[in-house]
Symmetry: C2
DNA sequence: TTGAAAACTGGCCGATCGGTCAGGAAGCTG
DNA sequence: CAGCTTCCTGACCGATCGGCCAGTTTTCAA
């Protein structure tokens, strides 16, 4: 058995690429399977041949970011509290900047997040990372870390033509004003 | 001529009340006119009798917050830069906390904000208030003020059972860490 | 009390949604 | 070449969407 059929992967990838672009531009709910199919140059039925429903397309779009985040969590777990905090500030920022499209998509799904089990893991990991970033169990610092992450995600949503590096620097600067070292 | 017909205003108000509740809970796009009508105890046709389409319902939901914000802008315009900054920090926080439901609704509409002229004024005023909050024209401080407002709006979206006063205190605390006095 | 205006509604419309299915086209293997 | 699997599609489905309209009920001033 072939590990992957080239044709299958090519179409699949194009669907995910276009779905990402559209979700980011118009929001998950406002994009139809027909929109995705047209953009990817195939029929709606083909989209549903490759993915088991619209939520599965969303899951595929989110998957790379979710995997990267899970990797970050795994690393952070091996560090001391102070190290984990510094690690979280730097790498969570990186992740949000690089995957800023995903950040945008997630925001649009928040109101119905309970009905989307396919992204529950991503969200849970994000909250875990926020806890690492706080650096302490003090409720105020935890709340401020959440505040910081909200600002971070918001900034990555509307980058205003900033380059990755400019955006990363801005976010890290803001985080260091908000977050107290452990 | 009667200034207002009681029956008309009563129904209108109930529709707006229920629409607000539903938009906040499930997002603008996920709420149908039928949902609003059922919650308000009338028919979908009645909703369309009082409001010229679904966007008009949204505009009515947002109107009180928009009016309050416009009033804030008018006051801030009469102040010195330093006074306006302090004014913005305190009263923009208040506004976001009191109208937190509206904050939630707006977030859901952001991806299609260009197609919603009825909320363009609100958004423009919010950005103006953000500029006052920065306290200087330095691009970095402007960006940080935007970052702060993103955090503010995010915190008001998911209040986690906090009281108005707790939420207001948290936001003001975070803002004072992020914002440099003019 | 009465009649016109205001408030309201059931039923219908075209469009679009996510999703299904039978079957055609393409590609690989013998 | 034949035959099987994979890939893909047009046509169709039931549901629901926002919106419209003709007509009924309610309100209220004269």
């Amino acid at each position: 058995m072939a590990v992957t059929t080239p044709a299958r992967e090519r179409t699949r990838l194009e669907i995910v690429r276009q779905a990402m672009r559209l979700f980011q531009a118009k929001g998950y709910n406002a994009v139809s399977l027909q929109d995705i199919a047209s953009a990817a140059g195939c029929s709606k039925a083909t989209v549903l041949y490759h993915f088991n429903g619209k939520p599965a397309v969303l899951a595929a779009v989110l998957e790379p970011a979710a995997a990267d985040l899970a990797e970050l969590i795994k690393t952070a777990r091996t560090l001391s509290r102070a190290e984990a905090q510094e690690f979280a500030i730097q790498h969570f920022t990186d992740l949000a900047v690089v995957h800023r499209g995903v950040v945008d998509v997630i925001q649009d799904v928040i109101p119905v997040i309970d009905e989307m089990p396919e992204i529950a893991g991503l969200v849970a990991d994000g909250m875990q990372m926020t806890r690492y970033m706080a650096g302490s169990d003090d409720p105020l610092e935890q709340d401020l870390a959440q505040f910081a992450v909200n600002g971070l995600l918001g900034a990555c949503r509307r980058p205003d033509g900033r380059t990755d590096e400019e955006l990363r620097r801005l976010c890290e600067h803001a985080l260091r004003r908000l977050i107290r070292p452990a």
